[in-house]
Symmetry: C2
Subunit: 356 residues, 2 copies
């Protein structure tokens, strides 16, 4: 059996959102964004790879399901994974085909996007397994091309994805603002709520409808302002200021979405209840002790500090529509795992009828 | 008993919204707006006035409740009504005090704002009762000062409130784009839904928080664009084009509200259901046959034409959260009523212990 390499990466929660691309093929954003890479206890993607002359094509499994990455009927995204795979193998002079097996450990139906951790795990894994001499920022460019915000999962702690100016995207990469020890008290409390109907996927929203928003013209510079303010606040560990800008940016992105045609609306009655409750909590405290932020989905992320974890938990526990609560801290970014964690095992190969 | 004068006015539904003032005292808007004045069967305000030397001060009742308009503790808005009353009496050389009695005929708990019809009825009534030689556009300026959008209720049919440029507000008045006979098929189907919690009044929103929106800078010129497009579409009776701009403007205003600090959120899960359903209806029809629009409240207004009334009704009837449906057509604007409709009657005076 061929050598198996395994890596793990985790999702990130955006403090400043990525919404609107200046290049859809390269995933080049209209604005910089900032996020916190989450700790791995509950939310992570593990990916294994092996290269073998016994394979007749590159093969990929996600959560046990074989993916069509090579046929003409494959989804754009899947074809793109094949492109990245081919590109990195070529760079390493690897002629054998790859078997990639990826598994997300997210709670079933949590509605948390696995694309960032998945793309980060794959990029990091390939760079290491193929012994490519790549800087982390180069790997983040690969991850970005697979799934924009994945580039931020290439680092632990608090991370900025700078917009960049170049048309080839080489300066649109992520870097670490601070590692997790800089501000270890930070937490992301994720309230999992019923998803309801989601009418537009986030990728469609990015690519097709964003330009129809008449307010969008003000979004990129607004997001840059939030990003600068948050970067400064992180350096000073100023939670009050950071929280304000996190909430402002979430509202700003969802406002822009509402203004697109047709409108995109992710905020529900539960979201409104959470938003108003966080405002009440902060008003009662006399400063911002918690910040809500919503991605393109129904779950709420409440950013807070250890000191106020209980306040946030008590607030959420009173809400009927909250089905589950997951607490995460800052993570370390992607790392290689040992053989004990490999997903490509003799049993897996037997089950799938594969030989490597 | 002194002479009693009585007038009636109706609310209007904005096709382009008024949100954001350049002068809060004069109610001068940042953008022009357009509305349809509603017919009077179900939604109207009737107001009576009498002047009498037997009164020791100006007295006002709204829906049977005495209003404090003169004491130092009176609300700003009430004091302002007193100012307008004093000003118009002075202009007419009227030395006697006024008794004003106003009644809204809106269904209880309908959550439909009565401020526009109330202010329009009062301004129109005073101008007529005091025999002031005022042009209708001058009266609309008075109505505007009491409650911004009331100036649009000074005319029947389809009405534009032009922003104006002057600091004194004399060119910020309403005029009729077309009377109700130009496009008689137009309807407003109002879906009354549970209001839920309303955390910020529309007046507070206008005055205090609008400036905190980082997207707001794009709102005034966007609204002007919608207003021009709708004015043109009205002239051509182009429902498809008008409907598009009505929906765009509603979403645009609510997006701006969401972006203010703290965020203002009037759209609920029911609103989202209605929005998506109207989009489905229009997609199925291959053109816009209905347009949703939401004010600063939970009710939905569906603008459509007679031909598609049933489609809209069927759509709304399937929704559990819709408590009541009111259909309105275009109205004629304010008019004087006869003695039989007077609200100041011997019985009323006896009940309230007043003499005139």
């Amino acid at each position: 059996m061929a050598n198996v390499y395994t890596a793990l990466a985790t999702p990130n929660i955006a403090f400043v959102k990525y919404w609107g691309k200046r290049d859809g093929k390269l995933n080049l954003p209209n604005n910089s964004s900032i996020s916190m890479t989450l700790s791995e206890e509950k939310l992570n993607t593990t990916t294994s790879v092996a290269f073998s002359a016994k394979l007749t094509e590159d093969v990929m499994f996600i959560n046990g399901e074989r993916q069509d990455i090579a046929s003409p009927a494959a989804a754009e995204k899947s074809k793109f994974i094949q492109d990245i795979l081919s590109l990195m193998k070529e760079r390493a002079g690897m002629r054998e085909h790859a078997l990639v097996v990826s598994q997300n450990s997210f709670p079933t139906g949590s509605g948390i996007a696995s694309s960032a951790s998945g793309a980060a795990a794959l990029s990091f894994l390939l760079a290491n397994a193929l012994k490519l001499d790549m800087q982390q920022k180069e790997i983040s460019v690969i991850a970005r091309r697979i799934s924009g915000s994945a580039c931020r999962s290439m680092y632990g702690g608090l991370v900025k994805w700078q917009r960049g100016e170049l048309d080839d995207g080489s300066d649109s990469y992520a870097f670490q603002i601070a590692d997790k020890d800089h501000w270890p008290e930070l937490m992301d409390i994720v309230a999992i709520v019923d998803p309801g109907k989601k009418k537009v996927s986030s990728s469609e929203g990015h690519a097709l409808t964003m330009k129809t928003s008449e307010l969008y013209e003000a979004r990129p510079r607004t997001a840059e302002r939030h990003a600068s303010a948050i970067e400064d606040a992180i350096k000073r560990r100023d939670f009050n200021e950071m929280a304000y800008n996190i909430m402002k940016d979430s509202n700003n992105m969802h406002a822009t979405m509402l203004d697109t045609w047709p409108p995109i609306m992710y905020l529900t009655d539960v979201s409104r209840e959470i938003i108003y409750s966080v405002h009440e909590l902060n008003t009662a405290a006399g400063e911002n002790i918690a910040a809500y932020t919503f991605d393109a989905g129904s779950n709420a992320h409440i950013i807070t500090t250890e000191k106020h974890e209980k306040d946030v938990m008590d607030m959420l526990k009173g809400m009927e529509a909250v089905r589950n609560i997951i607490s995460a801290r800052q993570g370390d970014g992607p790392r290689m795992l040992g053989d004990g964690d490999a997903l490509i095992t003799p049993e897996f190969l037997r089950l799938k009828g594969l030989e490597i």
